[in-house]
Symmetry: C2
Subunit: 326 residues, 2 copies
């Protein structure tokens, strides 16, 4: 990805992605809650990407990427490695575009996610986490089949597609003072920042990552990409070890900062969403809400957009999270 310049992704690319996704991705609703407004002392607009197709924002980037492949590329199909939402996003986008998809997943991936990915028609190839490198497995498969590897975030089309959620949030909900976005590899945050900074000049944009996986917060402090060991957190969508080469400079340029939340903060936000909003969020999907509820970002009196990025969580994990006492 180093060959691609950061300015290869622009607000225009987000707008073009929105056109491509029209009628295909859900234009997800904006939820509001008087209880949340009272608690945050702010006017809060929740962009419910847990209601997106396949249950998370990842479909937006995957479809935007695959839809731009030419006829020959489509014939050979795509390869992705992921045990989570990216896998399902690529699998669904490939099915809709009529191309083959191979997803490389760890052999210990949750049965539910394996089943969901296969359910969207993808071939799932398992690798052993301890003995094999998934990037190498994927690269070998791609070579063998002439297929295209679809990276989870460090790709201009993935970033632009992800940015369409914030685009819709501002188009439908109006201008914002603050925007809070879950942060893993940085695709959602970078795309959101491109859209929001263009549509709502002066908006303060924050990425929110788990405390245990504070690669972005460290990078922000040191003003360079810092890598950490793969973090242990319940936020399985945010277990990236370092900012992306492409996402980092966009985030650094357009955002106001990065904040971290603990796993307990994530559980409390999931519980709030369950009890008061009556919606299902996965841990990563609740991270930006957690930053608001814990007061990690000063939002007093502000008009605050919060991206709820996904809701794919199995029943046992969900029950453990919403049942816990804070």
């Amino acid at each position: 990805m180093t060959a691609v310049q950061a300015d290869a992704v622009s607000f225009d690319a987000v707008r073009a992605a929105a056109e491509r996704l029209r009628g295909i991705a859900h234009r997800t609703p904006i939820l509001a809650s008087r209880t949340l407004d009272a608690r945050a002392g702010a006017q809060v607009l929740l962009k419910a990407e847990n209601f997106q197709r396949m249950g998370a924002f990842k479909f937006r980037g995957a479809y935007n990427r695959l839809a731009q492949m030419d006829a020959q590329e489509r014939e050979h199909g795509v390869v992705a490695f992921s045990s989570g939402n990216h896998a399902q996003g690529v699998a669904l986008a490939a099915r809709l575009l009529g191309m083959p998809a191979v997803i490389v997943m760890p052999s210990d991936a949750p049965a539910l996610k394996l089943a969901a990915t296969r359910g969207y028609g993808a071939d799932v190839i398992l690798y052993e986490r301890e003995r094999m490198n998934r990037a190498e497995v994927a690269a070998a498969l791609a070579r063998e089949r002439g297929a295209t590897i679809v990276p989870p975030y460090d790709d201009p089309a993935i970033i632009a597609g992800a940015g369409t959620a914030a685009l819709e949030l501002i188009e439908d909900g109006g201008a914002l003072d603050v925007l809070l976005v879950p942060l893993g590899g940085g695709g959602l945050l970078a795309g959101s920042a491109l859209a929001a900074s263009a549509l709502a000049p002066g908006v303060r944009i924050y990425g929110v990552e788990p405390e245990a996986g504070d690669d972005w917060a460290r990078s922000w402090r040191e003003n360079r990409i810092v890598s950490i060991p793969v973090p242990k957190t319940i936020a399985d969508g945010q277990q990236t070890p370092a900012p992306g080469e492409l996402t980092w400079p966009i985030v650094r340029r357009l955002c106001a900062g990065v904040v971290t939340v603990s796993d307990d903060d994530l559980r409390a936000a999931m519980r709030f969403a369950f009890e008061r909003l009556k919606i299902v969020l996965e841990p990563s999907g609740a991270s930006a809400l957690a930053a608001l509820l814990t007061g990690k970002v000063d939002a007093a009196g502000a008009r605050v957009g919060v991206v709820l990025s996904g809701g794919n969580v199995d029943a046992a994990m969900f029950a453990a999270c919403v049942s816990a006492n804070p």
Copy 2:
């Protein structure tokens, strides 16, 4: 209630209730799901009353009833007996209208529901289920304070308020061929039937009740009000022993029938809502969806409205329901 004639509640009363609720109740969203449409072989519009204020449709009727009280009545306040959503609906409506509310609840009511009702500012008075009759406790309280008893469903203003959910569903979503509505005391179904039969002539309207509490199904077959012992079901919002005096004739006149679903059907519908729709439904709130998913109503090729009536369920109960294997 026997003094009130069935024709005391009309579509005009539903329309007037909608005016009263404007800007006060949430105009809840209509949800759609490609997965659900494919599974049901129908176009399904879900009216998400689990997103209503206090988490269920009950707020609509309670507010509509209380808002019509005169100054003197308001001063003396209201009394309701309920361990569930009616209690919270009356408590919230009373707070918004600035009047005192006393809620009579069983001493073994879930701590969460006691706390929620008190949280809306109501006085909660506990009675012992085995030793005392709640209607008598409430009547004594009402006499003592000069307060008005607010019944949970067999009241023209409660029925008209409840009917505004179906009114919005058809106004926002368009005409329907079939409408499926959860059925307990019959307030929601009677109100929905008044609205839907006026706005969507020819619509087939069905009430859905738990198998164990089939008082309506029996009444329908025998064409008279039949009482049963208080049913044992996870659908705590549908544990009524008999159709209401006022709701029964409206339902009988305007609906196509009554269907029943098992507790396992309810759990499967809650699980579908959790896994695919990413929303939280309580067992009663999932009953109409359960009737669709189990094919209890012929909906092939139809445009089907489904009222999701509430989402107030504690974490332990929810986890038990969505984790179970069908």
